[in-house]
Amino acid sequence: MAISRRKFLSCIGAAALTTTTNGLSKAYGASNKHFKGHPDSFGILHDITKCIGCRKCEAACNKVNELTQPEKSFEDLSILDQKRRTDANIYTVVNKFKHDTRAPVFVKKQCNHCMEPACASACFVKALNKTKTGAVIYDESLCVGCRYCMIACPFEIPAYEYHKALTPRITKCTMCYPRLLEGKLPGCVEACPKEALIFGERDKLLKAAWQRIYRYPDQYLEHIYGEHEMGGTSWLYLSKHPFSKIGMREDLGKKSAPELTTGPLSAVPIVVGLWPVLLTGVYAISKRKDKIAKEEKEKAVAQTTALAKEDTEKKLEALREKMTREKTSAINFEVKKALEEAEKTDAADKTDDKAPEESGKEEN
């Protein structure tokens, strides 16, 4: 019996589904724990209420990362009127948001250095890594240029050097990792005149941020962006205005990207491992079915044949018996007849006694 394509696919689907749902309902070792980041890892607190939109951070970023100079100088603030995002040559941008008639709000945008980065979890060659300093860094020697990280990032940060034909790289803010190793502050933090960016251990920054909220309740929302977003980020934000109104996504949830994908992804190896077994199983079952059918058929045929044979034999036997009986009766009749004849002859000729006895013996 051949298996149809449809049946095959539905079998596979069912198998995959059962394994995934099992994977979700069961508490796996990995998803039960909450990774709170490396101890003493660093972060940066961006107090949006303090930012004046001077673009000193952009200029410093450009300088310390040795990026190409933009056409318009960093002192030209008219560029703030456009909504910009990071690209291969710009690791950080400041965007302006107008709120009613009051003074505009400036928000710096760059890699948020997630505690459990989506980009790193999407990267299958480990070219992106969360270091113990808190910085998420990139190793171009490993990168294969698949750009999965760009799709994975919920903040749309990693950029690609499309203009380079032979050696394109992924680029993004490194939290000035090389400078951190030298004991220096990140370029943007050092340059900020208003201390709208402060650098320190993430835990301490969180405390400092909550302290600001408590001490100035009129000036801040009771929300530190990045404390829990996407499982927490090293970059933290304080604002007076709702984050969704200043170009920051509030629909990301509290789970990190790896946490969201562990369930379904953990099912993958099982599904992959199950395939050969399943296929062989399906094949074996259908094969066995054929075999059983054949055997049954043979058995039935054999049975029928046997029955028929028996029947014929019975009939034959009956016939034989009948024939034997007839024969015997015919013989007996003949014998009787002969005897009668002999008696007749005996009566006629008593002298010849021995002769019928001899003939009777012969007949028996």
């Binding site: 004046i52 001077c54 201390e195 402060i198 309740p217």
Partner: protein, 534 residues
């Protein structure tokens, strides 16, 4: 010839078909893009569980014009005054009432071959029709100046002509037994104490009461060709019209006398009283009372309701020192110090400090509990000095208030440094020449506009503490670098020196709306040092 004609015809059709949609569009934009204040939403309470039609946005001005301004077309009359409800007096509105009368009138108009509104079966033309771009309705505040205008108007006549003032024309009380209004001299109150947002058993809603009284009076006067207040929706509820009224009233604003309601000029607000040991003993006050300048506060508010939210009684009639049922068990102490209410002393003063003249310093001050020293600013009278007699108490309050308002001392001009060179961090930029005295005097000028600020600041030295914060008040306060290091741990809440300088200067300029110095104009304060190592 025929060939050419058909070609021309096709061309004309093409041109028309291209232009036609645009003609429609331009018409649409020109006519419908204005909001008006006269949109009345007719939304009856649900009558059945079936799906009902959406509410009707009724354009009052349009209908008023159609009726040639005759109110009687839609409103019933009672004792020479119109009841501003649609074709009824006290009954609740019903769907039939609106359908019969609205559609009935539309049919009548149509029969006269005039432009008429939707008829029966054209349900959606009224229900949920998107004719308007929203309402521009704005509440009008009947404040001191409007009150004054009516108080002094010859056309507003008192109930009994012998009365010297016309308060009784509007103010009344209500007898729940006889179901009649009556007037008591000296017990006038604000409309909103009885007439709430929604009508209750013994009082119409504020909306109903004010339209029935104000508009009826205005229309009656207008009919007699006497100059009077607005009679249309727009007249009161349009922001432009309101600003016109305000502009007209601003001329008389300074001459507005106080309300005549027997209120005190100054009064002692006393707190808890100790239990008496004998009948003859004078009451012993446990808290230093507040000598409250009622007269001054009246001049700083729009009307009585800024503080007196439920009646014109004394605060501690309901909010007793220990709390009572009438005051919803909110004690006198709570009600005066509630930071979140803008009717409490502390809450209202904090709100005042948010204005740009004050925010330069006050916005940067962290939220904290009252300092011990600040209690005495309000609790300015000794408890053991309180006389038993009420009039004597008022006299004492007046004395204390007068003394307090004259207490403000300024810092001698020669003690204020002229210029301060801030060069602690100069590198990319040259040292900043900070015009210290100019800034001090500018702050002083703005802060000292307010008599309240003068009382609370006590003296000009307090202004120094705006920048030279967190250290004892002194004429020679410590420098910024005394506390703000260059590389200290920043996460403890204390900014580094660079952050402290820029934070203090720029934030103050932003909060005080100093437009001359932009926060991003670096060279305005310190010149760029082109030779510096970056």
């Amino acid at each position: 010839m025929p060939k050419i004609r058909s070609f021309q015809l096709i061309l004309v059709i093409i041109i028309i078909s291209i232009l036609l949609p645009f003609i429609g569009l331009t018409n649409f934009k020109n006519t419908d893009n204005q909001k008006s204040p006269d949109v009345i939403t007719i939304d009856l309470p649900t009558e059945s569980t079936k799906n009902e039609m959406p509410a009707v946005d009724f354009l009052h001005t349009l209908h008023n014009k159609a009726a040639d301004g005759k109110c009687a077309e839609c409103h019933t009359q009672k004792d020479d005054a119109f009841i501003f409800k649609f074709k009824r007096t006290k009954e609740t509105a019903s769907m039939e009432l609106y359908h019969d009368n609205c559609i009935g009138c539309h049919i009548g108009t149509k029969k006269k071959n005039e432009k008429a509104g939707p008829l029966a079966a054209e349900c959606r033309s009224c229900h949920g029709a998107d004719k308007t771009t929203g309402s521009s309705f704005a509440k009008i505040d009947f404040d001191k100046s409007l009150h004054f205008l009516h108080e002094t108007s010859k056309n507003v006549k008192p109930l009994i002509s012998s009365q010297s003032d016309n308060c009784s024309a509007c103010h009344h009380k209500y007898n729940t037994e006889t179901k009649q209004t009556y007037y008591v001299k000296g017990e006038e109150e604000s409309c909103i104490y009885c007439h709430k947002d929604i009508a209750v058993e013994d009082a119409r809603s504020l909306k109903g009461a004010s339209h029935d009284s104000c508009v009826a009076c205005h229309t009656a006067l207008k009919d007699k060709n006497i100059t009077t207040g607005p009679v249309t929706c727009k007249g009161c509820h349009d922001l432009k019209e309101q600003s016109k009224i305000k502009a007209r009233l601003s001329k008389v604003e300074k001459d507005i006398p106080r309300f005549k309601r027997n209120q005190p000029d100054q009064v002692l607000i006393t707190g808890l009283i100790a239990k008496k040991t004998s009948e003859k003993e004078n009451p012993k006050y446990l808290m230093n009372p507040v000598a409250f300048n009622h007269k001054l506060h009246e001049s700083k508010t729009n009307d009585c309701t800024s503080c007196h939210h439920k009646s014109l009684k004394k605060c501690n009639d309901c909010h007793t020192p220990k709390g009572s049922v009438d005051g919803q068990f909110i004690s006198l102490e709570q009600v005066m110090h509630d930071k979140k209410s803008n009717r409490s002393c502390v809450g209202c003063h904090a709100e005042f400090a948010k204005q740009s003249d004050c925010a330069g310093c006050h916005a940067m001050m962290p939220k904290k509990l009252q300092k011990d020293s600040s209690c005495a600013t309000c609790h300015n009278t000794k408890a053991d000095m309180i006389p038993a007699d009420l009039e004597a108490q008022k006299a004492l309050a007046a004395k204390v208030v007068k003394k307090q308002s004259g207490d403000y001392k300024i810092v001698m001009n020669d003690k204020i440094p002229e210029k301060v060179i801030i060069g602690e961090l100069s590198n990319e930029y040259k040292p900043s020449e900070f015009p210290h005295k100019k800034v001090v005097l500018a702050i002083a000028k703005r802060a000292e506009k307010s008599s309240m600020a003068k009382v609370f600041h006590k003296d000009q030295q307090t202004l120094c503490m705006g920048c030279h914060h967190n250290s004892p008040k002194s004429i020679e306060p410590p420098k910024c670098a005394s506390c703000h290091g260059k590389n200290s741990d920043i996460t403890n809440g204390k900014p580094h020196l660079k952050g402290a300088y820029h934070g203090q200067c720029i934030t103050c300029h932003q909060k005080m709306e100093v437009k001359q110095v932009l926060p991003t104009d670096c060279n305005k304060c310190h010149e760029q040092n082109k030779t510096a190592k970056k």
